[in-house]
Every structure is written in structure tokens, then in C-alpha cells.
Symmetry: C2
Subunit: 307 residues, 2 copies
């Protein structure tokens, strides 16, 4: 990998299954990383790899703020704080930490799937301090993160997007500026809506075939390449046929995204009985049946057990 970020100071908060390989790619591209993670174990790994481990998220912001706004001498990554966190509440608490330390020129890149309204509010708080916020949720899973080949859907000021593009390109294979603040989250939620509902459709179709005495593996094969073809049929359909529901993409996180898209739909006035039904289904699957830790293809069990 070429050292496109050589010497740039980048902060990274949240070294989970997605954030950890992303931070490693940034370091491999030459960036000087300052990181923070809730769990000690991952932070220790980061230290062993030569990253600076900060004592709290505010210290991450303070470390990179020094490099921000240094004019022509500043690189694309200088003053950049990356977030990769799983829930709005965690993002909110991190914003509480970093907000007082933000100086003009700092850019916060939120790689997580964060609510639309929350994104606008967090961005406003950072802008009030002279900083910028890029919502840049990703798709492609842990496999894509490890390969540095994520799809990134970004929202925010065009000039800011252009400035941090080299950072985004280190972790993503396909980077698109979707529009104004929040447009990245809107796109990610559109993606997740299709994923949640297509998993449901494929589950019903394969279970319908089984109940009618037809081999679901053969049905999946016969449908491949036709109008019913999808990545979900290919990947999640295969898991359903094999009853392999080890995550992968946890159903609890799928439900989180379904809730975020319901909130967005309500905010912008999209009325959909399908979306309401989909939310009920995932709530039932995760909370009443307790399957939040299964891969989201495990929704199949709803049709298998009739529960």
C-alpha cells in the first residue's frame, strides 16, 4: 500500500470489528494514529502496533486538533477524527467528550450508521466550534473492512468531503459523495431497508418451497441469475438453506437500523405499511424470540418455527 497519508495525524475512536481493520489500514498508509476504545484488549493490540492510545475520547481530539488548520502544510488527514461506534447513544457520549476540544479545521468522520436527526444535531455542535462533520457510513461488512474495500456513502460539505477523500479512499473501494449533511446516513438506511426486507422475502420464499416439499437448495439455485437474483439470495439464502446463522451481521444491529429508517421515514413523511410490518417482525425476532445475536439471515427461523 502506498503511503498516501505519510505523517498525517489521525484520530480513531471505536476499534470494533469494523473500526480496527480501518484504523490499521490508515496506519499502513502512513498516518500517525491516536486511538481510543472502550475495551482494553483492543486498545492493547493498538498499542502493540505502535498506535498512540489515548486515555479518553477527548484526548484523541486534543492530539489531532494540534495538526488541524495549519494551512498549506496540513495534509488531508490532519485534524481528522474518525468514529466507528454502534449506537447513537455512544456517539452522543463521544461528542460530549470531543466537542470542547474541537478547533477550526477539525473534521469528524462518522463511519457508523447513526440516526439522521442525530447526525444533523451532532454536526451542528461540531460546526458551532468551527469544525466539520462528514457522515460516512459504510457497507461491506467485516470482510470489506479487512480488505480496505468498503462502500462509503458520504454526506456533508463538498469542500470538506474533497479534503478528506484521501482518508476515505484508504478504507473504501467505492466512495460516493451523496449530498448535504445526513445524505450518507439516508443512503445507508435505504441500503439497510432493502437488506432487511429482502432477507425476509428470501426467507419466506425458501420456506414456502420447503413446506411444499421442494428442496430449498435447488430452488435457490434455480432462481439465481433471474429476476429474483440478489446478493441476499446468494449469501443469506445459502445460510438459510444450510441453517447456518452464526454472525456475520447481528440481528440486533439490523433491528437498530430498522428503527433508524422508521424514524427517518416518519420525519420525511414516507408512509409504508411494509416498513411498519418489517419493524414489527424484527422487533419480534430480536426481543420476543431473543435472537439478537443470530446473523440476520436467521430471520428464516420465524417461518421455520411458525413463532
Amino acid at each position: 500500500m502506498s503511503e498516501t497519508l505519510a505523517g498525517h495525524k489521525i484520530g480513531f475512536i471505536g476499534l470494533g470489528n469494523m473500526g480496527w481493520p480501518m484504523a490499521r489500514h490508515l496506519q499502513d498508509a502512513g498516518a500517525e494514529m491516536t486511538v481510543w476504545n472502550r475495551s482494553e484488549a483492543r486498545a492493547r493490540l493498538a498499542a502493540e502496533r505502535g498506535m498512540n492510545v489515548a486515555s479518553d475520547p477527548g484526548a484523541v481530539a486534543a492530539a489531532v486538533a494540534a495538526g488541524a488548520g495549519a494551512g498549506a502544510g496540513a495534509g488531508a488527514g490532519d485534524g481528522v477524527i474518525c468514529l466507528n461506534l454502534t449506537h447513537n447513544e455512544v456517539v452522543a457520549s463521544v461528542v460530549d467528550w470531543i466537542e470542547p476540544v474541537i478547533v477550526p479545521g477539525v473534521v469528524v468522520i462518522d463511519f457508523g450508521t447513526t440516526g439522521y436527526s442525530e447526525t444533523l444535531a451532532f454536526a451542528e455542535r461540531i460546526r458551532a466550534r468551527g469544525g466539520q462533520w462528514i457522515d460516512a457510513p459504510v457497507s461491506g461488512g467485516q470482510v470489506g473492512a479487512e480488505a480496505g474495500n468498503l462502500t462509503i456513502m458520504a454526506g456533508g460539505e463538498a469542500a470538506t468531503f474533497a479534503r478528506v477523500l484521501p482518508v476515505l479512499q484508504v478504507v473504501g473501494g467505492k466512495v460516493t459523495h451523496m449530498g448535504a449533511q445526513g445524505a450518507g446516513q439516508v443512503t445507508k438506511l435505504a441500503n439497510q431497508l432493502i437488506v432487511a426486507q429482502t432477507i425476509d422475502a428470501v426467507a419466506q420464499a425458501l420456506r414456502l418451497a420447503e413446506l411444499a416439499g421442494v428442496d430449498s437448495a435447488l430452488v435457490r439455485e434455480a432462481l439465481r441469475g433471474g429476476f429474483a437474483e440478489s446478493r441476499i439470495l446468494e449469501l443469506h439464502g445459502d445460510r438459510m438453506v444450510r441453517r447456518d446463522f452464526a454472525p456475520g451481521g447481528r440481528s440486533e444491529l439490523q433491528l437498530k437500523d430498522v428503527r433508524l429508517m422508521s424514524e427517518l421515514a416518519e420525519r420525511v413523511g414516507l408512509k409504508s405499511s411494509t416498513l411498519a410490518n418489517s419493524r414489527q417482525l424484527w422487533e419480534h425476532f430480536v426481543h420476543e424470540l431473543g435472537h439478537g445475536d443470530l446473523d440476520h439471515s436467521g430471520l428464516f427461523r420465524i417461518y421455520e418455527t411458525g413463532a
Copy 2:
């Protein structure tokens, strides 16, 4: 095209947008065609092309019955009557016509999407006369039919399937024997279930983005290749972005298939709130909004108008 069916006598009932190119391909493969169609215009075209135009469906059956069961001399296509009709009721009326003329050795191939229970009943009537029934619904649309490249999902006796395979291969690029009688229809309905629900998902996702101020064409592009990728996103998503709802696949026929899958689900005991919701949605779109003649991607209008 090689003349794999040279000299075989094949009947074809129903020369619609799908049946007409299929019949032409069979003739081009060397078969001697006897056909019947409800509308005169298409029958005239068939006559101009050198097909024998029968006066009624019973006469088609009589013409091919002569070639059936002629032992070692009979070809794969001899005694074969192909059906390509749009509704159960039309198939029932054709079965009324042909049933008395069926002799041992005759095989009826039903290329249409016919109900599961009806398929079992029609097949039983033909078997009682010594004939056989292969349910062989197709996927791939008019484009696939013109190209002789349909996906064919067949159900029925393995020996009968093997006998008529050369006929199926002339019209289909991918031919799969799915299992016992009705297994082809089950597979087609599984296909249509996924299509109906994925169209709905893509419509919601793109409209959600538009309502949030994000360009739906850009969203569709950003989602391509990721977990939300599907043939529906590729083809029908493009129609939604362009608001081009000229058929293509008519919504009235999509609703017909949704009803057939609901009946199958009830018969085999698949409980699904999603399927019930999907049926309500398509009923509303076709009957209350009167959009039966739009392409099924036109379901998008439900989210556009809020109706």
C-alpha cells in the same frame, strides 16, 4: 439453430407475448407446429409462418395425439401439447377442450404460471386419460422468450421430464427439474414472491431518499454491488428513478401471482404477516388505484403519491 426437433409434431395453445416467440423457436428447431390462439391476429401470423392453425384447442390435441405413443419411432416432441396461458380459468377451459382427446403418451407442458392446487387437479385429469403433465413455468420475460433463453422450473415425473427435455431446451437456457408435480409452480411462486417484495423494498428505499432530499439515481448507483444489490435494483430501480412504468411485466399479472402464492402459503401452512401485507399492497395498487396496466415497478407510485 440445429433442427433437434425435425419432423416432431408439437401443439401450442396460447400465442401471447411469451408463447409466440416460444412457438417460433420450436418451429425453427424443425417441429411441425399445430397451434391455437384466442385472438385471430396472432393466429394469422402463425399461418403465414407455415404453422397449422387449429379451429379450437381440442383440434390441437387431436392433431398431436396421432403422433403420441408410437414407440421407438416417436420423437421427444411427438404427442406434446404446450400451453402458455395467463390465468387458471383459461387453463381450465383449455383442459376441458383437450381432456377427451388425450391418449396414452401425450404430454401436456404448461409453461404458464398456474396455481399449485389447480396444477395437481389438471394433471390428475390428464393422467386419468393416460397422459402426463409437466408444470414448466418460465422466468426471463419477453426478452428471454425472444432469445430462447428462459429459465424453466419443471415439476412432474422424472421419466416424462427426461423425454420432453429436448423441447424445453429449445425455449430455455436454464432448465431444472425441481421435483414432483407442482414443484415447478412452487419454484416460480417463490421467485415471484421475492420479485414482488423486492420491488416494494426498492421503491420504499428510493422514495425515502428522495423525500430526504437525496438524488435517487445516485442512491441506486451507490447501492449497486453491495448487500442491497439485486436484479430488481438494477432494472426496476432504474425505471423508478426515470419514472418509466410502461410494461414490461404488468402489475395485474404480478397481483395474480401474489394471490397464487398466498393460496399456496395457506395450503402448506406458511404464516407470514409480510405476505399478507404484500398482497394487500398489490390489491390496493391494481384495484383501488387502477394501475394494473403499469409495469410492476410502478408500485413506486404508492410511495410517491402517498395513496
